[in-house]
């Protein structure tokens, strides 16, 4: 990394956009502007501008793809409107949906993390163990240590996969739980 910085490559803005595009494409996971800047030995501001340019380019030319920000990084993905044709092509069916119980449990964990099983029970009014198992299996939640109370129960929180699967940049992008109060009444 240091080498790259010392080299100080001279690139035109268009070249930087092209490079950023290529790196986002080859990465298996969303890439942050920070990592891109480090690898390219470029200023983070310049990289951010290049990413913004790229996002706009894809948007403008009505591409079948989009550059989107998710789980703290940028990723190339198909446009949602095309899902039917893509499913027909890949011969995949919509993935198994989460049950109401799992979704509720996930909502409690997302908003109250780190949270223990008894605390989830308290809010949902029902045992959530099988939902927790499902969420762990799907890697949507992870164990986050133990709570220093009687019995030292395990605490749970959401994972990076949660951000990815729900298309969130980070946890702050979740609407505040109090916002749902208005809907209720």
């Amino acid at each position: 990394m240091d080498e790259a910085v010392q080299q100080q490559p001279i690139r035109t803005p268009a070249e930087l956009v092209a490079l950023v595009e290529a790196l986002i494409f080859v990465a298996e996971e969303p890439v942050s502007a920070k990592l891109l800047a480090e690898v390219l030995g470029e200023d983070k501001g310049a990289v951010k501008a290049a990413v913004e340019q790229l996002v706009a380019d894809y948007e403008e030319r009505g591409s079948g793809l989009q550059v989107r920000e998710v789980a703290g990084g940028f990723q190339l993905a198909t446009r949602t409107e095309l899902h039917e044709e893509i499913r027909a092509f890949l011969k995949t069916r919509p993935s198994a949906k989460l049950s109401i119980a799992s979704l509720e449990t996930l909502a409690v964990i997302a908003y109250k993390q780190p949270v223990t099983v008894p605390e989830i029970l308290e809010i949902r009014g029902t045992q959530s163990t099988s939902a927790i198992k499902t969420l762990l299996d799907k890697r949507l939640i992870v164990a986050k240590g133990r709570k220093e109370t009687v019995g030292r129960p395990m605490m749970y929180g959401t994972s990076k996969d949660f951000l990815l699967q729900f298309g969130l940049k980070d946890l702050t992008e979740l609407p505040s739980i109090e916002d749902f109060e208005d809907l209720v009444n």
């Binding site: 409107e81 009014g125 029902t126």
Partner: protein, 277 residues
């Protein structure tokens, strides 16, 4: 006998019942639960009953309150309790296991109902505000729960949108290996699997015959002099259990001590090779 199809968010479930149940008594399914009556759908020799599917007792309670168009801050507790118990009775009739949490809530409702029937303390009546409503705690819980239920709906919508976007297919630079990103949960489940696998091995061990040290030395010597060298790793891997492994290990020590054989290792943690000198 009951096939349970969960349809998230829509809040109802379809139960497939054998015709046997159908013949018994159709009346028992005339349950006023969903927006209309519980739907009974006939198809071949199957009967499907569509009734409310609830994620928990609070979910059911909220549904009943809405169905009765009641004010959540002034729940008609007698009526709601009656409806609640009706649902549980239906579940039992359909032979669907009723979770203990639902029964606990039923008890709570009955308790609140009886408290509401008690005459109020005349001294407390002076100020209406201080009257401790037996429903208060339940209402608080319902309000709190409903926020998370709405949040669950939001998550559901997000996941629907997300399921409609696809990322690229594999490309050359992806290392195609079966590597996994692990969490502590994975560590535990993997450990349990290994332990289970091991338990099976132990059972099989009993049936095996034991190899004596003399036989082990003989067979190892034969191999060394036949092939010139023997990989210790390969040799040890042939062992079926701990006892055999220990015997094999002692055999190696014996051979190195008494015969013209040396041990060589190319790198730390690398394989060790037994060589004829």
């Amino acid at each position: 006998m009951v096939e349970f199809i969960r349809l998230p968010i829509n809040n109802f479930a379809i139960y497939n019942l054998q015709s046997k149940v159908l013949d018994q008594n159709v009346d028992q399914f005339s349950f006023d639960f969903h927006r209309e009556q519980a739907e009974i759908l006939r198809g071949g020799d199957e009967l499907k009953v569509k009734i409310g599917d609830f994620a928990g007792p609070l979910d059911l309670l909220l549904f009943l309150i809405k169905q009765e168009q009641a004010n959540i801050f002034d729940i008609p507790i007698a009526k709601i309790t009656e409806k609640y118990l009706e649902y549980i009775r239906l579940m039992k009739k359909l032979d669907i296991a009723v979770a203990a949490d639902f029964l606990v809530m039923a008890a709570t409702l009955i308790e609140i109902k009886s408290k509401m029937l008690l005459p109020r303390d005349p001294r407390a009546e002076e100020s209406e505000e201080e009257f401790d409503d037996p429903r208060r705690e339940l209402v608080d819980r319902l309000l709190e729960y409903e926020k998370f239920k709405s949040a669950a709906g939001m998550l559901h919508e997000r996941s629907e949108i997300e399921a409609a976007t696809f990322t690229r297919g594999p490309i050359e630079s992806d290392e195609n290996n079966a590597e996994v990103d692990a969490s502590v949960f994975d560590l535990l489940t993997i450990f349990q699997k290994i332990a289970a696998r091991h338990a099976e091995d132990v059972k099989m061990e009993i049936e095996r015959e034991e190899v004596s040290l003399a036989d082990m030395i003989k067979s190892l010597k034969k191999r060394i002099f036949e092939f010139g060298e023997v990989s210790l790793l390969a040799f040890f891997e042939e062992m079926h259990n701990r006892r055999e492994l220990v015997t094999a290990f002692i055999a190696v020590l014996e051979i190195v001590r008494t015969d013209d054989v040396k041990l060589t290792q190319a790198s730390t943690f690398g394989d060790i090779v037994l060589k004829k000198v």
